[in-house]
């Protein structure tokens, strides 16, 4: 009795599950005829129960799916539990839906008496997955199609998304950097502008927009870093060419100002004198005592015009050669010795001495003629502006700076100049700071131009009546 009771109870439980199941549930025989269908199925095909039960499942299927379902049904009747996803528009149903279908054979007394088919509607999940996938694809396409390089840094500074422009500009492979930290991938940048600005963006939660030099690839980058909850979205582009042409433009503009100044002052002065002297000579009697000095001065003035033009030509030809001539490795000691020897007579005449301390194997990268001009001009200046109060001593010392070329110091004990007054003007063309000595104000301008043309730098320090010191950084 209790067995029957239990059976009844279990039958009821099953019935309840069947009737109330939101999934569509069918019970089919081996020929595909529907023996039972739950209300969810009836609703899906919009048919009353009597028009469903007793008919084949095929009659609810579009033709192209019949073979598939027949095949799956066969598999179930062979004793397998069958699972598959399929998009179906049941005949009579308003739209196609995606179902996860499970077919379970019902075994009674060792024989399969039928198959339960459960259709779970997966349309919504499927669609939202598809939307996610599509959006991911779309984002990927966007990040790949923008011309900027783009990557994500998470809050631990690890690389997230990296587009192919990043790979190209920074010369990295995304699979090698994804998940690694910025510090790990570019340790040399940990003291640099990039690191500092990203830190600012993280700290202040503000967008950072800046230019930074990326040493490893010798590129100027224009960078925008947008902070978010996840980390930083970083866009950048290569602006090296722009930065270089701005520098070039700036330099050319400065040159132009300089040449305007030369024309206005240094060329105009002797021309004005010549004009005046011609006027004067026109009214002077040939026997006048002023006649000869006026003529001599006219000659001198025209020679001055010529000299300024030659100077300008010298400067312009240096500028022209910039970047054209290949630099070579030059033995520094040789060049300095040449300059020293060529001024040896003058040095001895004034009782001075030039001491050099240059490693015999020290090479610098540059141009032989420029290097000679630099040391010749610096030594000439030391001689010209020596102090009357003590014998001139010039020392030239050089040492290699590993990886950065060489540092050369040229120091004298001459009359010096007032740094506060002169400052960086000492390097300006035709700028002079001594009235007692004749000079064109050309030497230091040439020195600086030559040093910079070879990619070096020059600094000066001086104290009145103590001496002057030039520090050169050569490559």
């Amino acid at each position: 009795m209790s067995d029957i009771l239990q059976l009844k109870e279990s039958e009821q439980r099953f019935r309840a599950l069947f009737e109330n199941n939101p999934d569509l549930v069918l019970f089919q025989d081996a020929t595909g005829v529907i023996l039972d269908a739950n209300p969810a199925y009836l609703q899906a095909v919009e048919k009353p129960r009597e028009e469903v039960v007793g008919r084949t499942f095929n009659s609810f299927l579009p033709e192209d799916l019949r073979a598939l379902f027949a095949q799956k049904l066969r598999e179930a009747f062979e004793g397998h539990k069958v699972h598959f996803d399929v998009e179906v528009q049941f005949l009579g149903a308003p739209q196609p839906l995606i179902y996860a279908v499970t077919k379970v054979p019902l075994v009674a007394d060792g024989a399969i008496t039928g198959v339960h088919a459960v259709f779970r509607d997966m349309t919504e999940t499927y669609n939202s997955n598809r939307v996610i996938r599509e959006q991911a694809d779309k984002l990927n396409t966007i990040f790949e199609s923008i011309t900027d390089a783009f990557f994500l840094l998470d809050r631990e500074w690890r690389f997230g998304f990296v587009n192919s422009e990043v790979e190209r500009l920074l010369n990295v492979k995304r699979e090698q950097i994804l998940g690694r930290t910025l510090q790990d991938v570019f340790p040399e940048e940990s003291q640099g502008v990039l690191h500092e600005q990203f830190e600012n963006a993280f700290r202040t939660n503000q967008v950072m927009h800046f230019q930074a030099y990326f040493g490893r690839m010798q590129l100027w980058l224009e960078v925008k870093a947008f902070p978010s909850k996840e980390g930083l979205s970083i866009y950048f582009s290569d602006v090296t060419e722009k930065v270089r042409s701005q520098e070039e433009l700036y330099r050319q503009n400065k040159d132009l100002q300089q040449f305007t100044y030369i024309v206005s002052h240094n060329l105009r002065a002797p021309v004005a004198n010549a004009l005046g002297l011609v006027d004067l000579l026109g009214t002077l009697d040939k026997d006048s005592p002023d006649y000869k000095p006026a003529l001599d001065n006219l000659r001198a003035s025209t020679q001055q015009v010529d000299m300024v033009l030659r100077d300008m030509n010298t400067i312009l030809s240096i500028r022209d050669k910039q970047g054209v001539e290949e630099p070579e490795q030059v033995l520094l000691g040789d060049i300095v010795e040449q300059a020293r020897l060529n001024l040896a007579e003058l040095t001895t005449q004034c009782g001075g001495e030039v001491l050099t301390d240059i490693p015999a194997d020290l090479y610098v990268l540059g141009n032989r003629a420029y290097l000679y001009s630099i040391f010749f001009n610096l030594l000439s200046n030391s001689l010209k502006y020596r102090s009357d109060e003590r014998p001139l001593r010039v020392s030239i010392t050089a040492r290699a700076q590993p990886g950065q070329g060489a540092e050369v110091v040229v120091a004298d004990n001459g009359s010096g100049f007032d740094m506060e007054k002169a400052g960086l003007d000492v390097f300006r063309l035709y700028k002079r700071f001594h009235s007692s000595q004749p000079g064109r104000g050309m030497g230091l301008y040439l020195v600086k131009t030559h040093v910079e043309t070879m990619g070096g730098q020059i600094e000066v320090s001086s104290a009145v009546n103590v001496g002057t010191q030039f520090i050169l950084h050569l490559r």
């Binding site: 206005s264 002052h265 105009r268 002065a269 002797p270 021309v271 004005a272 004198n273 004009l275 005046g276 002297l277 006027d279 004067l280 009214t283 002023d290 000095p293 006026a294 001065n297 001198a300 003035s301 002079r432 700071f433 001594h434 009235s435």
Partner: protein, 145 residues
């Protein structure tokens, strides 16, 4: 009329001197080749030693013409009406002309080379100022005890 040339360019000084003489401007011409020396001279000069006209060059090493004029400011009262400064420059910079407005001592700017017409113009201007100054002193500092 006493004239002082302040110019480091010897050719310029030679020329200006000869032209002034040729035009009969004056025979009393002194020249000082640096602005510092000229400043020291003017600071220490007795009133009767002050020149009537100064031709000042602008482009000189160390102290240039503008710096000289700045350094002269404390003497302005003593010099106004007595010393007429003309800038005599080879420079063609347009900014110079605007800049002279800042210096009451400067009566004009002449581009080198000096010519006959300019010299006559300066003479007329200075003579007018001098005769006016004799009747009505330009400033109290001008009144000698």
């Amino acid at each position: 009329m006493d004239v002082l040339l302040i110019d480091d360019d010897t050719i310029g000084v030679f020329l200006t001197e000869r032209l002034l003489k040729r035009e009969g401007f004056t025979d009393s011409i002194a020249s000082i080749p640096s602005a510092e020396e000229a400043l020291a001279f003017l600071q220490n000069a007795e009133p009767h030693q002050l020149p009537h006209v100064i031709f000042l060059d602008l482009n000189m090493p160390l102290m240039d013409g503008w710096e000289f004029l700045e350094a002269l400011r404390p003497l302005e009262n003593r010099l106004l009406g007595r010393c007429h400064i003309y800038i005599l420059t080879s420079s063609l910079a347009h900014t110079d002309l605007a800049r002279i407005e800042q210096f009451p001592l400067v009566d004009g700017l002449i581009n080198k080379p000096l010519d006959a017409a300019q010299i006559q113009a300066v003479r007329a201007q200075v003579e007018a100022a001098l005769s006016a100054g004799q009747e009505v002193p330009a400033s109290p500092a001008d009144q000698r005890p």
